[in-house]
């Protein structure tokens, strides 16, 4: 495993790989988002209880999935970055954070908009909603730490500690609806008995989940590339200053 990681730890090779993936992920985003939205908003039936309001679910549920999986990916990246000192891994976690925070925010807002007509309230402090709000604050805290340090290697270390500690929250969010009784409904798709969603409603949901994933990969590639170039620029500037100092 370590050998493979070293291959991708080389920024030049990493960028060649992401450059090759980019047009595919971009194309897939457009394709899946267009078909997903068509099925979600027009072609899928109403729900027998919720009526048209069920359509909020197609935006809400994949956003929540992404918020959890992007955070998990950040925690793993940050751990790899700290253990093996691979700068690309640190930058990957940093590059993913704003996208993950946006997915988390989207899940919270669409959840509130669904809750008002269905539950009769925008917000309750149940275990699922509260742990999801904590996840949003973890994202914000993680991004704030990167801004708080001038020394990027110190920032990477502090941010890694936060994101790894916060990873405890991920299983809590996932299983909150099983461990405690909550107002939020339990899992519908990933259950032991199989999905509890009729295929006509499940199809647009999975299309949207694919679209969000492709969208994330696309944004991630742009951002991680910018981070790598930014790092190169810093190093070049520092070298310049040093050279000037030596000459003067």
């Amino acid at each position: 495993m370590a050998v493979d990681l070293h291959r991708f730890a080389n920024p030049a090779r990493f960028m060649r790989l992401t450059d090759a993936i980019f047009p595919w992920s971009l194309g897939l985003t457009v394709l899946l988002l267009a078909s997903g939205l068509y099925y979600a908003l027009i072609a899928s039936p109403q729900d027998y209880q919720q009526g048209e309001t069920v359509r909020i679910m197609f935006v809400h549920v994949p956003a929540a999935w992404m918020a959890l999986s992007v955070y998990s990916m950040m925690a793993i990246s940050a751990a790899v970055g700290w253990i093996w000192k691979h700068p690309v891994a640190d930058l990957s976690a940093k590059a993913a954070a704003p996208a993950g925070a946006c997915f988390c925010f989207l899940a919270l807002v669409t959840g509130a908009l669904w809750g008002q007509p269905m539950w009769g309230t925008y917000w309750v402090w149940d275990a699922r909603l509260t742990s999801m709000l904590i996840l949003f604050f973890l994202y914000l805290g993680y991004m704030a730490i990167w801004e708080a340090f001038d020394d990027q290697s110190k920032a990477a270390k502090a941010a890694a500690i936060l994101v790894i500690i916060g990873a405890i929250n991920i299983p809590v969010i996932k299983f909150s609806v099983d461990w405690w009784n909550t107002l939020h409904q339990p899992a519908s798709v990933a259950t032991m008995e199989g999905p509890k969603i009729h295929s006509s409603i499940l199809t647009p949901l999975l299309l949207m989940a694919g679209a969000y994933t492709a969208l994330f990969v696309t944004i991630f590639i742009i951002r991680v590339k910018a981070e790598i170039l930014d790092r190169r620029l810093r190093i070049m500037r520092m070298n310049q200053v040093q050279e000037k100092g030596l000459k003067g």
Binding site: Q49, Q50, M118, N181, L183, Q185, H198
Partner: protein
């Protein structure tokens, strides 16, 4: 042991310890983490009249009575029942056989006087025609909700 190896073990150990700590904390706060109490919970650990809490379960079939602005119904978890009284607006999803969470307190007669009623949605999603044909075929059972309430 190399430094990398040491850092790797350190991360594993730290995550294990943190996970254990989080588990213990969450287990000890169990009572405040549950969003509502079921009628069976109440039968086990009765609440004094006048103390605020949330009661959750299914709206018993055939129990809803509308009396002007007041609505009366029974919350059940198929084992125990609690009668509920409420004045105010009820959410769209409120109906017999569906999940409900009511905030309020018990009065002296053991009737739960709700100040707010929230509908609880279950994890089943399907088009109306499918629900209709399931009902006709006699496969209709809101089973998951009952398990949950218990």
């Amino acid at each position: 042991m190399t430094r990398k190896r040491r850092r790797l073990y350190f991360v594993f150990a730290a995550v294990a310890v943190l996970g254990l700590a989080a588990t213990l904390v969450l287990m000890s706060f169990e009572d405040s983490l549950v969003f509502f109490r079921s009628p069976s919970d109440l039968a086990e650990k009765p609440m004094p009249a006048g103390r605020n809490f949330r009661l959750g379960g299914l709206v018993a079939e055939g129990s809803v009575v509308k009396d002007g602005v007041e609505i009366r119904f029974v919350v059940t978890d198929m084992a125990e029942n609690v009668p509920v009284r409420f004045r105010g607006l009820i959410p769209d999803l409120f109906r017999e056989g569906q999940g409900v969470v009511a905030e309020g307190q018990l009065d002296e007669q053991g009737v739960f006087v709700a100040s707010n009623v929230l509908a609880k949605h279950d994890e089943n999603y399907m088009p109306p025609e499918v629900a209709e044909s399931l009902k006709k075929a006699g496969h209709w059972e809101p089973k998951s909700e009952q398990e949950e309430a218990n």
